[in-house]
């Protein structure tokens, strides 16, 4: 950082936007995958349940409360 301020032309290089076409496959696949992870941490065996029992809920119990999700 110090080098760039000392340089005679301190112009920030303008970033070229990444084309949406390159982004979509990643966004769809990983976006869904990440949302599934959030669901398991935040809501599984609360309002809805994909896995029966209380194991998932009890395991992430403290994290669910402290991250702000409604929990039992």
């Amino acid at each position: 950082m110090a080098q760039s301020t000392a340089a005679p032309t301190p112009t920030t290089p303008v970033l070229t936007p990444l084309p949406v076409r390159a982004l979509v496959p990643w966004a769809v696949f990983f976006g869904v995958l990440m949302l599934v992870l959030l669901y398991f941490v935040g809501a599984e065996q609360g309002a809805t349940a994909l896995v029966s029992g209380e194991g998932v809920h009890e395991w992430v119990h403290d994290a669910r409360h402290l991250l702000g999700f409604p929990c039992h």
Binding site: P19, M34, H65
Partner: protein, 247 residues
């Protein structure tokens, strides 16, 4: 080529999220577990309906807490990395670090801070199990509204900027966002009450700890991901010398 950049940023986003999750876990363990234990003590003093423990408290407060916070960190990191891939070069003349920092700030505000102002984090013993469906739905709705309104505000600001200038456009966007959020908060039903006799200080300490966990997570993510993304996107000529000097 561009796809490789997206892949590189996504991997680094998840890595930064994991690192941020570790810091947030340490904070949660040191600061958050006290209020959680206090709430559980209150719960157990009032009723004995709890059967055998499926997962012991010592596991819940360590391995369980770590699992939840780390997975949350990785997931947020991945989603935010993808959001940053889109935002880069599209939200103004910002470099990689500034874009990552602004995205993390925006994420913290719209995914956590605004929703919890309406539906605050609740410790064990607070919240009726019979209303979990409604509370979950309202919480998710509040997050979705807040994120969509946040994106709308950014688009509004970008649209107004050429005519109004950056300062006025940003101010107008912030005012519009605040007003829309206020309307949503007034219209949506209120959250649950704490049970009679639940200490107000315990509630406050718990909510402050929750705020701290999320603040640590998002701040650490923004800084870590900004650093990693800059090395991918702006491999400047000065950098090899710097790393040689630092060792």
């Amino acid at each position: 080529m561009n796809s490789t950049v997206v892949r590189a940023l996504l991997a680094r986003g998840m890595l930064a999220g994991l690192g941020a999750g570790v810091l947030a876990f340490v904070f949660a363990y040191l600061v958050g577990e006290g209020p959680v234990d206090a709430a559980i003590a209150f719960e157990e003093a009032g009723s004995h309906e709890h059967g055998e423990e499926l997962v012991s408290r010592s596991v819940q407060s360590t391995a369980g807490l770590a699992t939840g916070v780390l997975v949350f960190g990785v997931a947020i990191g991945g989603i935010m990395a993808l959001a940053c891939c889109f935002a880069l070069g599209r939200i103004g003349r910002f470099g990689a670090r500034a874009t990552a920092g602004l995205a993390a700030l925006g994420g913290f505000l719209t995914v956590y801070l605004v929703p919890i102002l309406k539906y605050p984090a609740n410790p064990p013993a607070v919240g009726d199990p019979d209303t979990i469906d409604q509370r979950t739905a309202l919480f998710v709705l509040m997050i979705a509204l807040s994120v969509l309104l946040g994106i709308g505000a950014v688009l509004l600001g970008r649209g107004l900027a050429p005519a109004w200038g950056n300062w006025n456009a940003s101010t107008a966007a912030a005012v519009a966002f605040t007003a829309a959020v206020a309307v949503a908060m007034v219209v949506l039903p209120a959250g649950d009450n704490a049970p009679k006799g639940f200490p107000a200080t315990d509630l406050w300490e718990f909510r402050l700890a929750s705020l701290g966990v999320q603040a640590v997570l998002w701040a650490a993510f923004g800084l870590l991901f900004g650093y990693l993304a800059e090395r991918v996107l702006e491999p400047g000529p000065a950098r090899p010398e710097v790393s040689a000097l630092v060792g």
